[in-house]
Symmetry: D2
Subunit: 425 residues, 4 copies
Amino acid sequence: MRSPIPDYLAQVLGSVESDDSGATADYIPELASADPDRLAAAFATLDGQTYSVGDCGVEFTIQSISKPFVYALALADRGFESVLAKVGVEPSGEAFNEVSLDDLGRPRNPMINAGAIATHSLAGPVGIDPQAGFERIVDGLSAFAGRRLRVDEEVFESEMATAHRNMSIAYLLRAYDILDEDPAAVVEGYTRQCSLLVTASDLALMAATLANRGFQPVTGERVVPEPVVRQVLSVMTTCGMYDAAGDWVTQVGIPAKSGVAGGLIGALPGQMGVATFSPRLDKHGNSVRGVRLFERFSEDMGMHMMDVPAPAETVLRKNRHVGADLRLYVLQGGLRFAEAERVVREVAQSSPSEHRVAFDLSHVHAIDAVARRMILEVIRRLSLEGHDVYLVDPEEVIPDPDPGDGGRVTVVGQRLTDWLERLRR
Amino acid sequence: MRSPIPDYLAQVLGSVESDDSGATADYIPELASADPDRLAAAFATLDGQTYSVGDCGVEFTIQSISKPFVYALALADRGFESVLAKVGVEPSGEAFNEVSLDDLGRPRNPMINAGAIATHSLAGPVGIDPQAGFERIVDGLSAFAGRRLRVDEEVFESEMATAHRNMSIAYLLRAYDILDEDPAAVVEGYTRQCSLLVTASDLALMAATLANRGFQPVTGERVVPEPVVRQVLSVMTTCGMYDAAGDWVTQVGIPAKSGVAGGLIGALPGQMGVATFSPRLDKHGNSVRGVRLFERFSEDMGMHMMDVPAPAETVLRKNRHVGADLRLYVLQGGLRFAEAERVVREVAQSSPSEHRVAFDLSHVHAIDAVARRMILEVIRRLSLEGHDVYLVDPEEVIPDPDPGDGGRVTVVGQRLTDWLERLRR
Amino acid sequence: MRSPIPDYLAQVLGSVESDDSGATADYIPELASADPDRLAAAFATLDGQTYSVGDCGVEFTIQSISKPFVYALALADRGFESVLAKVGVEPSGEAFNEVSLDDLGRPRNPMINAGAIATHSLAGPVGIDPQAGFERIVDGLSAFAGRRLRVDEEVFESEMATAHRNMSIAYLLRAYDILDEDPAAVVEGYTRQCSLLVTASDLALMAATLANRGFQPVTGERVVPEPVVRQVLSVMTTCGMYDAAGDWVTQVGIPAKSGVAGGLIGALPGQMGVATFSPRLDKHGNSVRGVRLFERFSEDMGMHMMDVPAPAETVLRKNRHVGADLRLYVLQGGLRFAEAERVVREVAQSSPSEHRVAFDLSHVHAIDAVARRMILEVIRRLSLEGHDVYLVDPEEVIPDPDPGDGGRVTVVGQRLTDWLERLRR
Amino acid sequence: MRSPIPDYLAQVLGSVESDDSGATADYIPELASADPDRLAAAFATLDGQTYSVGDCGVEFTIQSISKPFVYALALADRGFESVLAKVGVEPSGEAFNEVSLDDLGRPRNPMINAGAIATHSLAGPVGIDPQAGFERIVDGLSAFAGRRLRVDEEVFESEMATAHRNMSIAYLLRAYDILDEDPAAVVEGYTRQCSLLVTASDLALMAATLANRGFQPVTGERVVPEPVVRQVLSVMTTCGMYDAAGDWVTQVGIPAKSGVAGGLIGALPGQMGVATFSPRLDKHGNSVRGVRLFERFSEDMGMHMMDVPAPAETVLRKNRHVGADLRLYVLQGGLRFAEAERVVREVAQSSPSEHRVAFDLSHVHAIDAVARRMILEVIRRLSLEGHDVYLVDPEEVIPDPDPGDGGRVTVVGQRLTDWLERLRR
């Protein structure tokens, strides 16, 4: 059987192919002369499978899409406090090249140029020299992509020749002591960062690394820690699409970032990374067909972050008395706070009179930290009330359970039926 | 056993109780003289359970927390296009009472006063008179709360006497034809809306209605349709906390809204509604202890919207050859795009040679629309290739499955073991 | 002989007559339907002569041209301190209807609507009721014009019906406590003020009153005191032409004010008042042909305030020894600081050895306060050195001269030749 | 006799001496360590006399006071159109170092840094290299001062090391194509310009050159043409004192410019140049005691540009019939439009019936261009009506009078009495 996913991607691509509205960026010849008809889309799953259609092997410069990844590196290298002291997290409601400094001279957020230039200077350890700082960034972005990225020297040279506005921004940041380095050197490094070459497939994997809690899906490398990923995704949500942030969040609802060469990425936490490539831009500087593709993906696949999933089946599959003085709670599905709350409530309301109480986790396929703590607390309270509590957990959904504070639990590694069988004997 | 949840809530409340920083709003005597030590927190689950601690029965005026709900009513009553033509969705980066109109004279978003005043005029059908429009709003907000809300006439009178800035805003909106009505009448209605009395428990249920796709958890009433809920939650995410939106999204990560009387709500899609009440405000106009409580809730319960859940166990429990020329795929857990993709991939790669192919959904506890479509497409393709395809689905996870376009499937309502037993015979 | 001045005016009018660029204000029907071809210009001299050409008898509403005059009344009635506490004097660089409040909530200047609305409320004594306040303004503006002005009730009604933006401004001023009164009543009064009917000839006389140190040229009434005039002319200079202030000052260089009905005035201190009327406006809201007329007047008549006059002939006509032990200084022309300095210098350098020193003022036609003080100080010093000092001043250019502080002077009321004749005898 | 003027200056200086409020600029050590107690004031008359008190021989850097003079050079070298295309003339209402570009990217005016940097690049002919451009500026400013100025290299080096904000501005101007040159080279030249050393006496002479229609009072050199002077004085009026422009115009009313090293100049057209020096600055960046000194000068000497002079004596000394069929008009004083108009009116109204009409200008000490044209037009009209017209003008107040267009006049070079005597014979 042929997978329907490439067919789906091809069909969606086909549906936007004829849209030739917008225009390529024209501030340097290399971008102006890019083939405007290029079109690509790629999905990368969290276990490293990539689906690519269209011009997915064509390299283009990463441009502003480098911003969230370098922000991630800066947070990882310098810590949140150091970075937040230099760059804010508030949406600016302004175009990408606006200066937008707050009262302290801090750029409003790391997705506008001012913030990205400041962020560039924060990758690597304090006091790193510009050359080494840039190497840190190439290493880091390559780790996200899973392959060694290289600079397009022609684009770099061309952008440097017209980088007046970024030079202006960098000197202003220097005036406010947001930058300590030579502004010209920082702009050179930043421009070089923007000139790194990527394909749509690279970008999908880079986004998937964010969606995968910082682990690169193919190499398995932990590129940045989880709190950094959360911060980066949050900022992409509110600031990733420039002055169209609100439209994007309401209509697409995927943390995203666009680049002036036509790239666009989205990260679906826990699901996958998505990337598109189409050089013609709208007035906000976002890829016209890229935006349309994401609108389709969001709608077709229900990927809007504010889509409330339909209620799951009840988490409590069974609550029943079993012979041999046993109350049995059979749980199922995934457990977050909401599901654990229902278990807690059921136990609290039913107040089991049996001496033994057992929780069967055999049908639970996922449990998050808060749900685990809640279940353990229930166990602790029951054991303090004098019950013998059992956790039937053959697949170790809760490894090494410790109710703490005087609570006790007996872990049952067998299947429920086997254990009940044994009990009965 | 006593439920640990009220204990948890009480403990968290206790941890912020001594914080008396900030100050009550002082622009009218009724707010200035509010008891600043009031403190309450409430959780409301999607099946209508409410956990309340502290001053959860104390009524206070809803103020700006009415904004997202009236926005929801306007969207429901007038449609997206009409509302978006009058009020934008972009974060303003400005304080709550800034005028913040965009180039078209539209308020930037419905969470600032300008947008909320415009939104107020959009509840109910076109041409509704102010009195009836206000009734529509009381009815709507009462439906969210699940009980009849009433106006605090003293607060209303007092606010009207100093509503100069809102009058100024309303006349400006009138000048830009965003308002068609008499500005003074609109401000009166809006002020009355802000003077509706609620408790923290009411607010938790109102938030839970949003978290529950628009269904009121207790009454079961569908208050607004799902696309409206998605829009409202999106706008709360980017604009709910005024000029602290970016801080809030990165640190708390819950769609929220605060009010000047000290209320604060958060909606956790698919999980629950949360509300707090504490009258002292920070410089942004948000409740000092309310913000701290939410920071605790978010951290303790892993409720940040960008927290990537740990990867679930594999969705494919089994993929094996069974006697009688059968290939059996046993699925488990919750299926979204990412999980369905793995199933699709496995089937595509393994290309079953058996004549019969069966998918066992007995251990699947939830499946969303896109995953359902993907599984059905796999079934269609297999059947077109000549396979007999079976869907073992005793709990009707996929009711009335139709692969479409020439595809065929046989639904098996029995348990897998029973069916296999029968097959073998 | 026919005066060439009307001919000049007619010729200049003819030179702009065919210019039909711009458009009449269209926010109310009364202005939109004004005859756009109306064209008038008037000069009013400081002794009350008026030269009028074109439609100088046609009445139109004064609109914003009322602003400097009501500002003058407010300064006269409440004093500088009270008025400056409510309205600033800085150019705003913004359009007429921008809100433009400074950090204290003060409108930037009295020439933008926000400032004019605040100023309106400051005419008459503190606590005056709105009706009486409006009467004060009609009386005051009528005193400037030299005839009783009346309101165009149709324009007034029409403007009130669309005064949303001014209502917005007034409520904002109320919110900042710049206004203490009911904002709606203030806007009504302000709109009525703007609806007063004037002709170009009226406006020329009103401007001439400012040019004449506050004295109405025809009636001779002192309408406002001199420091008020100085303040009003200064503010007209920097703020009178809205966001085109810099262009106006550099190119025309006459303190001016325009109105949306097509009027435009200029005040040439010490010389005359000028007014034009032509309803089509440019994008700044200034009369197109009015601006062109003023450019012509300024250029043809050398009326730019920064035109440095060619140096006058030497102030010291003679410095010579006369028989009978007399040093004679014959002064001529007008004496300001610069001219008096030359006299002072000459006397100091020549150190007259004669016992008698005489200053002949017969040919001096004007002397300002500082020059008078300087001449008297020279006299004082000479007399303290032992000289007998004489002031030949048959026309009492320096009435009652008092050198002060021990100085003495003998005033000679005769003509120089007669006095010298007598001396010789 | 000792001149009272130095005494006056010393007395005024003494009255502000004890004011030690404000602080020296501290962004570079050279300014921070300046002696804050330095105090100087100088007057320079239009014939080159300088009155200096206090530290008038102390050199300090010219800083922003160079701006109006370099603006004058740019206007003279490139023409108005070229300069206005790059730098506007509107007050910005902002601090000196704000970027303040208008919609076209033009700096708002040449008195803020952005405008001054652009202006710096416009001195000298198009295409001049930076070194030569700087020489042009030193030559030009030296011509204004009347002596060769030199750069303080220490201040220059120190300012360059912290010129981040100006670098930022220059790169922004480059981005908008306001600058065509290398921004770093322009900032270097501009900083060097600001580091030129001057004394208060130099500055008084520089200001006096502006007050003297562009002629240096001592050297007599025409430094820039008159229209340039008018433009520079106009811009100083509205933009010279940064965000305090309105306060300055209303309270002092003298075209002025301040510098961060403590200098302050004022130009009184047709009268003199004034300069003060005192390093402590107020929050606007203007010298505290300098501002107070100018307030005193303006008040004491009636030098506010909007002070309306008291009306001069009547311009028509006599209008009478003399024997021999002659109508005699004896004029006196200074004639501008207003005075000439009275003559014109008198002649038009009196319609002389005599065959001969004579105008005696013996007592006229100044006449401007428009008044001359008006008198000649009256003569022309009278001669066309058949009169023989005589101009008694022994001092050639109107040299080579030509009524034009068929008009004829007989010039009488004798004194009136002699001529009348002759006539009678």
